[in-house]
Symmetry: C2
Subunit: 200 residues, 2 copies
């Protein structure tokens, strides 16, 4: 196996070990030592792949973001082509929320990373770039749907984008079993129905 | 000072020391030792007031919830009486979000507590009770507004309640400076305007 690929694969396998710990035991247990144990490598080997905890966390988050966008793409590929913008938004929201085990692991990882980023400017810059990219992507989707008459023209695309982003607030409510998955989905559908109201 | 009052006050002062650490340095630094130092007591004294870290966290969260509902009440008292249900929901949402220093400290404390609660059944039960109470309170407010014709009768009160709760998702977006305070407030106002659309 080429060295470059092996390095990448080993980093991904370490990132997944970190997710498993965060998912099953919680953030407090995710020390470098514990991640090395879970990944089946020595602490020295782990430090060869990641010079610092911050670097490991950032890589693990980027890997989680890639996995989420892979799931979104696969999900979109399974729909009638081209998918309706309402369906695209629904798929993005449902894949971001902890509604199934894969998404739960990345969602928990995300919650932990956000908390860490509040006090770490480097992590905050990193997560900020990802979130602003996501916000721009949703806004462009909404503007296109408005141009195609799928969303009423009196809507403010920036405000509608932020209201979609805020729906990721269901993540916490789902994690704490305050809201059931079918309740979160019903609310998301209601919100999207209203956004795309002009049609039909 | 009566012993009972002193005990309560000392616990509150320790809880506020914990908030300051979480707000300024982050959750990872909030050890029993660090909280004792910040509160100006010995570790032994701290353990006299809280037998475990979980007990300290739970008390600190309850105290934060009380402070938040005090702020909500003060804010509501400053409005025309009786306040319109739209205003009540707006005040609740804005006081829950990190839009000013007091709310920011309790909001960060909340994020940390949620993360901890994902892997601690006792904390999860505790926070679940609070959130379900909040959910029931909002639902009853929405049902009353529907009875008074302030919200269109075709709305589903349970779904509308969950959509209001989900708007607390702005907390993360505000903390990470992805959404500006005035953008979050504009989106909340837009959502509430639509909910109370039938009126005017």
């Amino acid at each position: 196996m080429p060295k470059q690929v092996d390095h990448r694969e080993r980093r991904e396998s370490i990132a997944r070990a970190l997710w498993r710990i965060v998912d099953q035991q919680g953030w407090a247990r995710a020390t470098m030592r514990e991640v090395a144990r879970e990944a089946g490598v020595s602490l020295g080997q782990l430090q060869h792949y990641f010079v610092s905890r911050a670097e490991m966390l950032t890589f693990a988050m980027e890997h989680a973001a890639e996995q989420t966008s892979d799931r979104v793409e696969q999900h979109l590929d399974s729909l009638d082509q081209p998918p309706h913008p309402r369906e695209v938004l629904r798929v993005v929201l449902t894949e971001l929320l902890p509604l199934q085990p894969d998404a739960r692991a990345t969602s928990r990882m995300n919650a932990a990373y956000v908390l860490e980023a509040m006090h770490d400017p480097t992590l905050q810059r990193q997560i900020g770039i990802g979130l602003r990219d996501g916000r721009a992507m949703i806004e462009s989707l909404i503007r296109q749907a408005m141009e195609h008459g799928q969303i009423p023209p009196d809507r403010d695309p920036k405000i509608e984008t932020d209201l979609i982003l805020a729906l990721t607030g269901f993540a916490t409510l789902l994690e704490l079993n305050v809201v059931e998955p079918q309740e979160a989905l019903a609310a998301i559908d209601q919100h999207l129905d209203r956004l795309f109201r002009a049609e039909s």
